[in-house]
C-alpha cells in the first residue's frame, strides 16, 4: 500500500484550466481570453525589443553564474524601488525602505505574507477587495493568515462600489491588513479615481491599517508608469508605511523569468536593515536565493537610459493596443445592434475586463463559439486582436441579446 492512498486529487487551476480546454478545441475561430499574458495584434507572444537588446548585452558580457545574495540582485532591487516610489520620493532617497527580489508577483506576495504572519502582531486578518485575483486567498492562507473582504466591485454598474468600499473599510478593525491593487485591478479592471484613492488613504490612515499594495501592471495599465504608481506614492506621502509587491511579468514581458520584488517602507534606514535581515531568514528556507536571469534583464533595462526609454515606449505600446481593443469591442457591439450599455469595457483598465456576462452566457460562448474565458465573465483583453474583435462582439451579442 502507499503512503498517499488518502491524498485527494487536487482541483485543476480555474484560470489555467481555461487554457487547457482551449488547446484541445479544434475550431479555427477559437479565442483564448483566459490567462493574463499579453499578445500582439497577431495573437502572438511579444518579446520586447528592449528585452532582446538587454539579453544580447548580457550574453556578450560572459558573466559567471555565482549565487546571488539572498535578497537578490542589488541593482535590480534598487531600480525596482525607484520605479515604484519615484526618484524624488523621500522614502527612497532617505533609504527608509528595503526591497528584496522575489519570484515575480506571486513569490513577492508570498514573502510578504510570510513576513506578516511572523511579525505583524496586531491581527491575522488580511482584507481583500471583492473580488480579487484568485491566487491571493490561498497565498495568504498558506502563509497562515486569515482572509476577510471589503466591497469593491458593483455588478450592477460594472464599476467601483465606492460607497460600499468606504463603508466596509471604515469598519475594518484597527491595525488589520488591507490589500489594494495599485492599478489595473485583477480581475475587474476597475480602478478608483485619484479623488477616491485620497479618501481611501484617509480612512486607511485613520484606522491605522497596514496597506499591502499589489502592483503587477505598472506602466501596463495607462501606459504611464508614474500615473500607474500614483496611489502607491500618494499613500507613502501621506505617511502610510506601506508594503508592496511588484511584478515585471507583464510590463516587461518577462513572465517565465520570474522577476519581481517585495518592498517594506520603514520608519528609518535602521529599521529597514532589521526588516531586511528577517526577510532573508524567511527566504533562505524557501529557495535560498533568487534566479538571476529575469532580474538582470530588468535591471539592465531600468538602469540603461536608452533601454529604459525604449521600454517606456514599448509598454505604452502594449497599453495602447489594449485600450484600442476595448474601444473597438464596444463599437463592434454597437454595430451588432446590442442595446446594452457596454461603457464599462472602456472605463475599465488594464489587461482584464469584467464583461458582466453570467456563467450560463460564458458557457455558451465556450460551447457555441469556442471563446474561452473564466466563469466569472473575465476576459483578457490582451487576447483580442483587430482580426477577431468582430467575432467576439458578434458572439457576445448573440448570448446577451
Amino acid at each position: 500500500s502507499s503512503w498517499w492512498s488518502h491524498v485527494e486529487m487536487g482541483p485543476p487551476d480555474p484560470i489555467l484550466g481555461v487554457t487547457e480546454a482551449y488547446k484541445r478545441d479544434t475550431n479555427s475561430k477559437k479565442m483564448n481570453l483566459g490567462v493574463g499574458a499579453y499578445r500582439d495584434d497577431n495573437g502572438k507572444p511579444y518579446v520586447l525589443n528592449c528585452v532582446r537588446k538587454a539579453e544580447a548585452m548580457i550574453a556578450s558580457k560572459k558573466m559567471d553564474k555565482e549565487y546571488l545574495p539572498i535578497g537578490g540582485l542589488a541593482d535590480f532591487t534598487r531600480a525596482s524601488a525607484e520605479l515604484a516610489l519615484g526618484e524624488n520620493s523621500e522614502a527612497f532617497k532617505s533609504g527608509r525602505y528595503v526591497t528584496v527580489q522575489g519570484i515575480s508577483g506571486t513569490g513577492s506576495l508570498r514573502i510578504g505574507a510570510n513576513f506578516l504572519q511572523r511579525f505583524f502582531k496586531t491581527s491575522r486578518d488580511v482584507y481583500l477587495p471583492k473580488p480579487s485575483w484568485g491566487n491571493h486567498t490561498p497565498i495568504f492562507r498558506d502563509a497562515g493568515m486569515q482572509l476577510q473582504a471589503y466591497r469593491y466591485y458593483d455588478p450592477k454598474t460594472c464599476s467601483l462600489d465606492f460607497s460600499g468600499a468606504m463603508d466596509d473599510i471604515s469598519k475594518i478593525p484597527e491595525k488589520s491588513i488591507i490589500l489594494l491593487h495599485a492599478c489595473a485591478h485583477n480581475p475587474t479592471g476597475v480602478d478608483p479615481r485619484q479623488e477616491q484613492w485620497k479618501e481611501m488613504a484617509a480612512v486607511v490612515k485613520k484606522r491605522n491599517l497596514l496597506a499591502y499594495f499589489d502592483m503587477a501592471y505598472q506602466g501596463f495599465a495607462s501606459g504611464d508608469i508614474n500615473r500607474d504608481a500614483w496611489a502607491v506614492r500618494y499613500f507613502i506621502e501621506q505617511g502610510i508605511n506601506i508594503v508592496l509587491s511588484q511584478s515585471f511579468a507583464k510590463n516587461m514581458g518577462l513572465y517565465g523569468e520570474r522577476a519581481g520584488a517585495f518592498t517594506v517602507i520603514c520608519s528609518d534606514a535602521d529599521e529597514a536593515k532589521r526588516v531586511e535581515s528577517q526577510l532573508k531568514i524567511l527566504i533562505r528556507p524557501m529557495y535560498s536565493n533568487p534566479p538571476l536571469n529575469g532580474a538582470r534583464i530588468a535591471s539592465l533595462i531600468l538602469n540603461t537610459p536608452d533601454l529604459r526609454k525604449e521600454w517606456l515606449t514599448e509598454v505604452k505600446g502594449m497599453a495602447d493596443r489594449i485600450i484600442g481593443m476595448r474601444t473597438q469591442l464596444v463599437s463592434n457591439l454597437k454595430k451588432e445592434g446590442s442595446s446594452h450599455n457596454w461603457q464599462h469595457i472602456t472605463d475599465q483598465i488594464g489587461m482584464f475586463c469584467f464583461t458582466g456576462l453570467k456563467p450560463d452566457q460564458v458557457e455558451r460562448l465556450i460551447k457555441e463559439f469556442s471563446i474561452y474565458m473564466t466563469k466569472d465573465g473575465r476576459i483578457s483583453v490582451a487576447g483580442v486582436t483587430s482580426g477577431n474583435v468582430g467575432y467576439l462582439a458578434h458572439a457576445i451579442h448573440q448570448v446577451t441579446k
Binding site: 500500500s1 502507499s2 503512503w3 498517499w4 492512498s5 488518502h6 491524498v7 485527494e8 486529487m9 487536487g10 487551476d13 489555467l16 490567462v35 499574458a37 507572444p45 518579446v47 528585452v51 539579453e55 544580447a56 550574453a59 560572459k62 559567471d64 553564474k65 555565482e66 549565487y67 546571488l68 519570484i103 515575480s104 508577483g105 506571486t106 513569490g107 508570498r110 491566487n135 490561498p138 497565498i139 492562507r141 498558506d142 502563509a143 511579468a249 514581458g253 518577462l254 513572465y255 517565465g256 523569468e257 520570474r258 531568514i281 524567511l282 533562505r284 528556507p285 524557501m286 529557495y287 535560498s288 536565493n289 533568487p290 534566479p291 538571476l292 536571469n293 529575469g294
Partner: protein, 374 residues
C-alpha cells in the same frame, strides 16, 4: 561553489554552448512555464537520478516538480509532507537530520511547519568517519513513519558517505521501521565523477520498493548556481498515487512561486536530451570532480610527508566539495587569524578552494595549527 585551479568560478563549456543556442533561437519567448515546470526538464532530470532503466520510470510511477534549486525542491517536498504524510497536517511527525547536516535543512522543515526536528548520529569525530552503529540505533528507536533526510552522496558538510553495504543496512532498517526516505541529492556526478555511482543509494532504495522523495540540485553539477535549477523527484507505488501527489504539489507551488524560472531549466533540458551535449556535460562534470579528487590526494600526501600528527586518510576517503578536516575550533581560529585561510569553525574546508599554487601553504598551515594548538 566550484573553483578552477586559478581560483575562478567556472561556467561549463557545454553551458556556454547551450546558452548561445538559446540566445540564437528566435522562436523562443519568455512565456510562463507550466506550474510544475518545463516537461522536458522534469522528465530528463528524474531520469538522471533514477537511471535510464529504472523500473519506477518504466512503470510510470514517478513524478517530477521543477523547483528553485535544491532548496526549493526540499521545501516543496517538506510542505507536501507536512500536509499529507502520516495523516493530514500532522506537524508532529518527527523529522530526522544527520549530525551534522547542511544547516538549512532544519530551517526548511521548521518553516514547512514541522514541530519535532531531531538528529541522527552520523559523524564520528574520534574515528573521523561514519558512526554507522549510532545511525542504525537512531533508526531503530525512531517512531515509525519518521522522516529521514539522507544525503544521496557527498555528505554536506562531512564528505563522508555510507558504502553500498552500509546503505543496504540502512535501507533494511528503514523498511522494517516504515521510515520515509527523503534524499537530498545536490552533487550527482560532482562527487565521484560518475552519475550512476553517485546515484547508487537512491536507485537502491527504489529497487527495494520504497516510496521516496529526492530533491535534486543542478547548481553544482551544471554550475548553474544563480539560475536556481532543481527538481523534486517523487517515486510512488503506482501511477495513480503519484498523479494525486503531483496535483497537490501543484497547489503548493502555485502559492509559493506560481511557476518556476525558465532559463536554467532550458539549459539543462537541452543538454540532457541531446546525446552529444549529454556526453559533453558528463565530461565537464568529470573535469570538476577530478580536480577535487586531485586536490584531496595532493593535500593528504603533503600532510603525511610533513609528518603532521594524526591520520589523514579521511581526506581522500571523504568525497565531494567538502571535507571535515578534524581541526578543532582553536586550530581553525589559528588558520583564519594567523594564516588567513578561511574555513568553518567545524573544521570544514571547501576542497574547491585548493589550487596547485596554494596546496603547499595550506598543508604547512594545517601542520602548524595541529602542532602548535591543542
Amino acid at each position: 561553489a566550484y573553483r578552477t585551479d586559478e581560483g575562478q568560478p567556472w561556467v561549463l563549456p557545454v553551458v556556454k554552448k547551450v546558452e548561445q543556442m538559446i540566445a540564437n533561437d528566435n522562436s523562443l519567448n519568455h512565456e510562463y512555464l507550466p506550474i510544475l515546470g518545463l516537461p522536458e526538464f522534469r522528465a530528463n532530470a528524474s531520469r538522471i537520478a533514477l537511471g535510464d532503466d529504472s523500473p519506477a520510470i518504466k512503470e510510470k510511477r514517478i513524478g517530477s516538480v521543477q523547483s528553485l534549486g535544491g532548496t526549493g525542491a526540499l521545501r516543496i517536498g517538506a510542505d507536501f509532507l507536512r500536509r499529507w504524510y502520516n495523516g493530514n497536517n500532522n506537524t508532529a511527525t518527527p523529522v530526522y537530520v544527520s549530525t551534522p547536516t547542511w544547516e538549512n535543512h532544519n530551517s526548511v522543515f521548521m518553516d514547512a511547519g514541522f514541530k519535532d526536528i531531531r538528529t541522527y548520529h552520523y559523524w564520528d569525530a574520534a574515528k573521523r568517519g561514519l558512526d554507522l552503529q549510532g545511525l542504525l540505533n537512531d533508526m531503530e528507536n525512531a517512531p515509525e513513519r519518521s522522516i529521514f533526510i539522507l544525503h544521496a552522496c557527498a555528505h554536506n558538510p562531512t564528505g563522508t558517505d555510507p558504502t553500498p553495504e552500509q546503505w543496504k543496512q540502512i535501507a533494511a532498517v528503514m523498511k522494517r521501521r516504515s521510515l520515509f526516505p527523503f534524499f537530498d541529492s545536490a552533487y550527482q556526478g560532482f562527487a565521484s565523477g560518475s552519475l550512476d555511482k553517485d546515484a547508487w543509494a537512491v536507485r537502491y532504495f527504489v529497487s527495494e520498493g520504497f516510496e521516496l522523495f529526492c530533491a535534486q540540485s543542478f547548481s553544482k553539477n551544471f554550475g548553474l548556481y544563480n539560475e536556481r535549477v532543481g527538481n523534486l523527484t517523487v517515486v510512488g507505488k503506482d501511477a495513480d498515487n503519484v498523479q494525486r501527489v503531483l496535483s497537490q504539489m501543484e497547489k503548493i507551488v502555485r502559492t509559493t512561486w506560481s511557476n518556476p524560472p525558465s532559463q536554467g531549466a532550458r539549459i539543462v533540458a537541452t543538454t540532457l536530451s541531446s546525446p552529444q551535449l549529454f556526453d559533453e556535460w558528463k565530461g565537464n562534470v568529470k573535469t570538476m570532480a577530478d580536480r577535487v579528487l586531485l586536490m584531496r590526494s595532493e593535500l593528504r600526501s603533503r600532510l603525511e610527508a610533513l609528518g603532521t600528527p594524526g591520520t589523514w586518510n579521511h581526506i581522500t576517503e571523504q568525497i565531494g566539495m567538502f571535507s571535515f578536516t578534524g581541526l578543532n575550533p582553536k586550530q581553525v581560529e589559528y588558520m583564519v587569524k594567523e594564516k588567513h585561510i578561511y574555513l568553518m569553525a567545524s573544521g570544514r574546508i571547501n576542497m574547491c578552494g585548493l589550487t596547485t599554487k596554494n596546496l603547499d601553504y595550506v598543508a604547512k598551515s594545517i601542520h602548524e595549527a595541529v602542532t602548535k594548538i591543542q
